[in-house]
């Protein structure tokens, strides 16, 4: 179904896999080169889904607990990110979890239900946007998080009104965005040069009425309608009439169709997804091409997420490393391509480079939320860990560019992330009774350190897929040849791993031409 596009160099395969997985391992690069790009992608979509809820439930049983904990749920998340075969799907679900945000900050200890929500995202990762939006809307977790669950029509006795929470955010964050956009993702301006809102407060109120009457649901069982509490009156949403006497299901059908078919939705979602996978500053042309695939996958289908993802990963701008020039000259486009890795990806990249495994059971070994400032399904609010247009002070801001992930790189968080990287390097020492630890086998490194050239080539392959910068290679060789005596093998390995895993290039996702 896809045109065959193959890459020019091994480094390009490495960079492609850095975007499409939680970390490109040497064996992944080999596999992809053998298969070819398109068959690899196709195979990934057919790989059995690594579900989260069953592992969470098993851990609860094994540990004889009453209920799932955050450490269990997040541990299962890391298990899949680091070891699952369906890497592309896991990565897509993670991207979707940063758009259709639910969070333990607000949902409390319902970790089994949150795992079920995540599994729902996995199910829809390569499906249709319409089905995803339907499932998200009726998910009991989203129902609790954005409080659609239990929203009822107006009650004159208590002077109470339908809940507007989900109605507002489904438009602002899940489909339309705040401002009307052209097909290139740029805000349309009115005669006064002002941006034009893509919906009004009245639309929010009317949509809230259309979404009344949903309740119940548990784990993967969606909420159900109780039409007694559904507002059966006529509504007008975004200029479209919803006739009177529609049931909650009928209104929802019309709502989902309306939102999916709004002109803003493809371009809004395209921009958000590109930012999660490829670059913080896509060119308008890139956004437009991805959006066009969302509008029509070539077979007349709108919202095909698999086709959209393929368009994102194989776009000419992605493969040629072209970013938006911002307010600079077009000569700067190459340097604006890429992104700052979010701390979670830094850690999964490291763990996969070291082929980390767990001693007995995967837990949240690194205390993700505290030490990285983020954890899956644990954002501070429905606005995610960062805003997509965040522009940190300095050159990025001055050039008219964005780097959302910079939000997390505070002085405190830089130090705590550093310490987790060091802790992972030390994790080869984990003993069998350290049963929740992650660990790795240090012997492949120990076997080579006495031969610095072969050793550095091996590290380069394991950690940088052959793209290790020469500066880092020279630092490593310097340590091996001049700084630490060959009799201190472990010290040589740890120190050189430290150099590689703290290199600035390890923390950004760049182009490789």
């Amino acid at each position: 179904m896809f045109s065959h596009k193959d890459l020019q160099s091994r480094g390009q395969y490495f960079h492609f896999l850095q975007r499409a997985t939680f970390g490109a391992r040497s064996q992944d690069i080999e596999e992809m080169i053998t298969l070819g790009l398109s068959p690899w992608f196709e195979a990934q979509t057919q790989t059995p889904i690594g579900y989260h809820l069953p592992l969470v439930q098993q851990a609860v049983i094994d540990e004889m607990r009453d209920r799932a904990t955050g450490s269990i749920r997040i541990g299962v998340w890391y298990q899949h990110a680091i070891t699952a075969q369906d890497q592309l799907r896991q990565r897509m679900a993670y991207a979707l979890s940063q758009i259709f945000v639910i969070s333990q900050n607000g949902l409390g200890n319902r970790h089994d239900e949150m795992a079920a929500y995540y599994d729902m995202l996995l199910d829809h990762s390569f499906g249709r946007f319409r089905d995803l939006l339907w499932a998200v809307t009726l998910s009991p977790m989203m129902g609790r998080y954005l409080t659609l669950r239990g929203s009822r029509k107006a009650n004159p006795k208590t002077n109470s009104f339908p809940d507007e929470n989900y109605a507002r955010e489904v438009m602002q964050l899940f489909t339309l965005g705040l401002w009307q956009l052209n097909e290139r993702g740029e805000a349309i301006l009115d005669e006064q040069g002002q941006k034009i809102p893509s919906y009004t407060q009245n639309d929010v109120q009317e949509l809230a009425r259309a979404l009344t009457g949903w309740q119940g649901g548990h784990l993967s069982t969606p909420m159900t309608a109780r039409n007694k509490f559904h507002d059966m009156g006529q509504k007008v949403i975004l200029g479209t009439v919803f006739p009177p006497n529609q049931t909650a299901e009928q209104d929802l059908e019309q709502v989902v169709d309306l939102l999916v078919n709004q002109p803003n939705t493809p371009v809004f979602i395209a921009n958000l997804l590109i930012k999660r996978f490829v670059t913080s500053n896509p060119r308008p042309e890139y956004i437009e091409r991805v959006s066009n695939t969302f509008i029509n996958n070539g077979q007349g289908i709108r919202g095909d997420l698999q086709a959209t993802l393929w368009a994102i990963l194989t776009d000419e701008d992605a493969l040629q490393g072209i970013g938006d020039q911002g307010n600079q000259s077009s000569a700067q486009q190459t340097y604006h391509f890429g992104l700052l890795k979010e701390p979670i990806l830094v850690i999964t990249n490291q763990a996969r480079a070291l082929n980390m495994r767990c001693v007995t059971r995967w837990r949240d070994f690194i205390s993700s939320n505290n030490s990285l400032g983020q954890a899956p399904l644990a954002a501070n609010s429905v606005f995610n860990f960062y805003l997509p247009d965040h522009a940190p002070q300095g050159e990025i801001n001055q050039h008219g560019l964005t780097a959302p992930e910079a939000t997390l790189l505070t002085t405190y968080q830089m130090q705590t992330m550093h310490n987790k990287i060091v802790r992972n390097i030390e994790a080869y020492r984990a003993k069998p009774h350290h049963h929740n630890n992650w660990t790795y086998d240090i012997t492949p490194f120990l076997n080579l350190h006495a031969d610095p050239d072969r050793y550095v080539a091996f590290m380069n392959e394991q950690i940088f897929g052959g793209t290790m910068p020469n500066r880092i290679i020279q630092r490593i060789l310097n340590v091996l040849n001049h700084q630490i005596n060959v009799k201190y093998g472990t010290q040589r390995v740890k120190t050189t791993l430290y150099i590689a895993f703290t290199a600035p290039e390890f923390f950004s996702q760049e182009a490789c031409l």
Partner: protein, 543 residues
Amino acid sequence: MKLSRRRFLQSSMALSAASMTTLPHTAFAQQSRTATSDYKALVIVFLKGGNDAYNMIVPTSPREYETYQATRPNLALTPTEIHPISLTTENQVNLGIHHAMSDLVPLFESGDASVFVNSGQLLTPTTRSTIAASLSPLPRFLMAHNMQQDMWQTGATYYNSPQGWAGRMMAMLSEKTEISPLISLNSQTRLNISDQLPQTVLNSNGIGQYSGWHDPIYVDEYFSHFDGDFDNIYTQYFTDTMKKSVIENAELKTILESHPSTAVYPETNLAAQLKMVSRMIQARQALYHQQQVFFVSIGGFDTHVNQKPTHHALLENIAQAFTAFNSDLTQQGMNKNVITLTMSDFGRRVLSNESGTDHGWGGHQLVMGGAIKGLQAYGEWPDLTPNSEDDYNHGRIIPGIAADQINASIARWFGLSDNQVLELFPNLSNFPSPYIDFINRDENEQLPHWHATTVYQNNDLVTHNGQTWQAAWWTQGNEPDKHEVWKLVTTEENNLIAIWSASRIYREHDIVTHKNIQWKAAWYTKGEEPGTTGEWGVWRKKG
């Protein structure tokens, strides 16, 4: 600047030792050491999600309570759930506070805390009729969390600007210091973004150590990364952040270790943030900070459902943290130098949902500090009746006070001129005054009492027996009400009529003569020359 490990170690030692003179800004530092009375801090406590202010501050006057109760019958506090706070609004409505905040009652009674009633984002004075007649442009995307959170931090005009109003203010006021005085707890905030100064982001857990750095090779190798010069903008940003973080981490660690907290705070996240703020206030001299702006926050206010218990717990949390912070500052003798102010996305709708409330517009904010004029509430209690002049729609109340008027008053207190204030908040030229007069004038700027041995020059002002006098020529030993050298300059309304002086503060309605023209002040001002402030500026020709 190339930063070597040796230089890094030297600079952290320099900070830990008393030899501060090796660092720049020495002159500024010496000045700051002698000028605690001029030191000022603003602490913003952001209540994220949109606080249901209409259940935090509640009217106790019978008629207004009845309307409140009828508007939200399933959520209204009962009289026993309300503690009176002996504050009255400008339209004579008595106020009470949610009983979860009873810890704050003594602060209201001592004048150390007050309330801005029904404040929010406004571009111009606004009512239901002016909206219907399309006379009032509305702030963009009212009721949307992130846009409204930004507006409190940027001002209603510059919501699209990357910079916050405090960032812009401090760029006008402050010299560059090693640690920026724009300080946010736990993450960067819009309020504290400036194009001149960086932002300090502190974690309430304090400062950690880089592990592995007992080994000098680790430190050398980490520092060697700073030398990289990268074409890719993200890699370069990360490198810069690595370097900045190492330096800031070391400096803050040294400074905070020498300024431990001695006060008792509750075990809550908000209290931990305020405790860290208190330590940074204590460290102001070591930091060379003449002014500081802090941003702390507490989430969970988006109470669409199950509001009663959730809101109760949040309000209790705030009251306990505020009380502890206030008593800590009072013990340090810094209470008069610090203003603590709440902000929140928006007030919530007065009409309710099934068990919670939805996004609204106007709300009430708390203010605390020894410099405020307490014992009164600011603003008018709105009419909560559906479709009243104060109702935007469905119980979303139109603010009476612009949030920017509160911000502007603080900016003036920090030392901005009226022109600078209007540069930050251009929308305030639409209002009768850009300010809410809730801050006491600095003690050292009050007029002196006449003294028999003091020499007075032409135009000097003194107070004597409760009246204000101005010297017409050089004088000494002549008592004001006994000698013609002293001219009485107090009007019937107790306002001044005097020769304008650049160093003097004038209040609203004060009258001055300058270059033979009489001018009347439209609001509190200092240092702005009559005739230069424009048609809508502070000085209006008297006529």
